[in-house]
Symmetry: C2
Subunit: 408 residues, 2 copies
């Protein structure tokens, strides 16, 4: 067995900085939701761009309403109506008004809008105003909302629905985003068979590749399943080289025996322009994780048990996919506060990740650690997420409140 | 202005049951992540399907190790090695052992595995065992993990990464899912212009359609932008009819004036086979929301201010998209516990939704309500989510802990 130099999770994460961000692509706005902005978005214009009413009512000079009240309303002449989406020729002077809908453009001369609820029409041409308005009241001035030149969205932001709306408001028909990182996935193991195959004795299907594919998708990457490789250094070397041709990152997983792990590290060391950055991380599960930098790309050796590989992906690999995908201002990681349902001892010096199922009892959330080892595939669909036990603690006490990191 | 009969949010949500779930489609497993399972998944076989070692070590009859200890190890003969992914001809008797890797298939006769760490090889053909094992120890029996016929995933489940892995483990090359609900989006308003247009005085771009499109995507639907309709009943009637031909649900938004709202309700009433289910919901913002059932499809009239339309979508429409999309066991809605940063009074009898920005101060999360009215588009990109103030409360006190519903 090869020598492990175990590093902390934080030290492992710090290697992110050694990997470059992928290139960019131009997308139509309709395809940009959830993608990562590749350049600051600077407003090309003022918004709204014109003086706009935010209520249905009457555009006036505020001075025309001074002192107006229910008992002593101000009487003004109605010149006509403002139409939506058009400038008006009307010019409102002292003692005059124009009907205006929400969103309508203020006529010349007007500096405020009286809400229709505070008026009473006497006839077509005159209205009583029962409440005074101040200059600017119920009006949005040009650039009150957005000023031309303002930086509205930062490079590296994962675009949300509201961002798409803002981009549309400012006429951005397209947007420059980082392309999705391509992540090649290799499975090792003489016992591993492809999905459609009939299984012989002692054989299993390629669970890891399919699970990791979906996790790559969830992290914003494009999974590229490159198939199954026999437990043979030459075959794994060829497969890794081929994967590096088409991908920005490579995940190797599948074998859970010591022999397979040694094979992976030997292969990574044998690749040209390769530097093994870490071999062993102080987390549980996931200690035998390997990371190499091969010609600029991250190549991972992940634990063979799929349940452990999922934890390592969530705790570590995901951050690297986001790094090369250009994410700076990501979505807040979904969490849920819950009480842990039983004592969970842990060891100093490593971070434990415990898979839990969330259960609601009497309106409170409880996080129930899953029983059954990492060899049981069934348990993976029962877990709603992970509870993290920090390295400097002795574990969690029943009833303690934890933040469950939800996964998809 | 039309008569409003305002109903509670819960009563509004209860109308979900009046809409049918969409049809199904068959997908390859690689396309199924995040989709909604259309039928219970019943395991077609046992898993692992064979007696499997969960450690690297020696397969033995447990009886051969009884009484073994560091000081009095048991000596056994090594018959050979089990290969991964294959049955072996070896047959392990009393006082015998076979080398076995993690995941290997137990040879005949063996009923337990001794971890390699608890053994010492004397030569090629014999090994000392320093710890006794019980029958079944370090072994997964067939169906220990999954038994044939077990219901593993329920209809209506949003497929997670682990689910994809489980389906792969059991040889499911494809899966039946509900198709994504098609949601047509119409914008009304003479002032609203398409994204690429040069704006004239008083005109604005179609923010609502683009924002709602992304929210439909986030809810698992397929947005179909059907363009902008002038404030004219005939035009809106034609546009709504056209939208109903291609979609399972229709969202009408854009006008924020009373006139536009009246136009929407008149149009909905004029559509054939139409029943207005609600016109007014006791929420803020979003009170003037309209829902009709037209020939089986939900047709919504949403508030004109995009910031309000977003809240109504999140609080109400989203649940209907999920309903017709077949979602039963959805992903847990992401929330974050935070302290509210200032007093927020509210009125009895309605549910308030307040847009907040999350801020981390000294390791604690604070939810800062956004200032600036719903007319300001800028505020929409500042909000990380919504805080809900229940109808029977008088509001929130500064420092009170709330659950922020995060949005994408």
């Amino acid at each position: 067995m090869k020598f492990f130099r175990v590093v902390s999770l934080d030290d492992a994460l710090a290697h992110r900085g050694r990997f470059e961000v992928v290139g960019t692509e131009q997308l139509a706005l309709g395809a940009a939701f959830g993608r990562v902005l590749a350049a600051d978005f600077v407003s090309p214009e003022d918004l709204p761009g014109f003086r706009r009413s935010i209520v249905d009512g009457f555009a006036v000079q505020a001075a025309s309403t001074f002192g107006a009240s229910e008992t002593a309303p101000a009487l003004v002449d109605v010149l006509g109506s403002v139409s939506m989406g058009a400038a008006t020729d009307l010019r409102v002077g002292r003692g005059q008004a124009a009907r205006i809908p929400t969103g309508g453009m203020l006529p010349g001369g007007a500096d405020a809008v009286v809400m229709i609820e505070h008026t009473e029409a006497l006839d077509e041409d005159s209205v009583e105003i029962a409440r005074a308005v101040a200059p600017g009241q119920n009006v949005v001035e040009p650039s009150d909302d957005v000023a031309m030149g303002a930086v509205l969205l930062r490079r590296g932001r994962v675009l949300r629905a509201a961002d798409i709306g803002l981009l549309a408001a400012l006429g951005a028909t397209g947007v420059s985003v980082f392309r999705r990182p391509r992540v090649a996935i290799l499975s090792t193991g003489d016992e591993v068979m492809p999905l459609g195959a009939e299984l012989g004795p002692g054989q299993v299907r390629d669970v890891n590749a399919w699970t990791l594919s979906a996790m790559v998708e969830a992290a914003g990457g494009v999974p590229i399943r490159r198939g199954i490789v026999a437990d043979d250094e030459g075959a794994l070397l060829d497969a890794a080289r081929g994967a590096l041709q088409v991908a920005d990152m490579v995940l190797i997983s599948g074998g859970s025996s010591v022999g397979t792990r040694d094979l992976t590290i030997d292969t990574l060391e044998a690749l040209p322009d390769s530097e093994v950055l870490l071999h062993g991380v102080a987390i549980k599960p996931g200690k035998p994780t390997i990371l190499a930098r091969v010609g600029g790309a991250a190549v991972w050796g992940l634990p063979g048990h799929v349940t452990s590989a999922m934890v390592v992906f969530e705790a570590l690999v995901r951050a690297f996919v986001e790094r090369i995908g250009g994410v700076q201002d990501g979505l807040l990681r979904p969490t849920r506060a819950a009480r842990i349902s039983r004592d969970l001892p842990s060891e100093h010096g490593r971070v434990d990740f415990v898979r839990v199922r969330l259960e609601e009892r009497d309106g409170a959330w409880w996080a129930a650690p899953l029983r059954g080892g990492s060899a049981l595939i069934r348990t993976m669909v029962q877990a709603d997420g992970l509870v993290r036990i920090e390295r400097d603690t002795e574990g969690l006490r029943e009833g303690e409140v934890v933040q469950v990191q939800l996964w998809r």
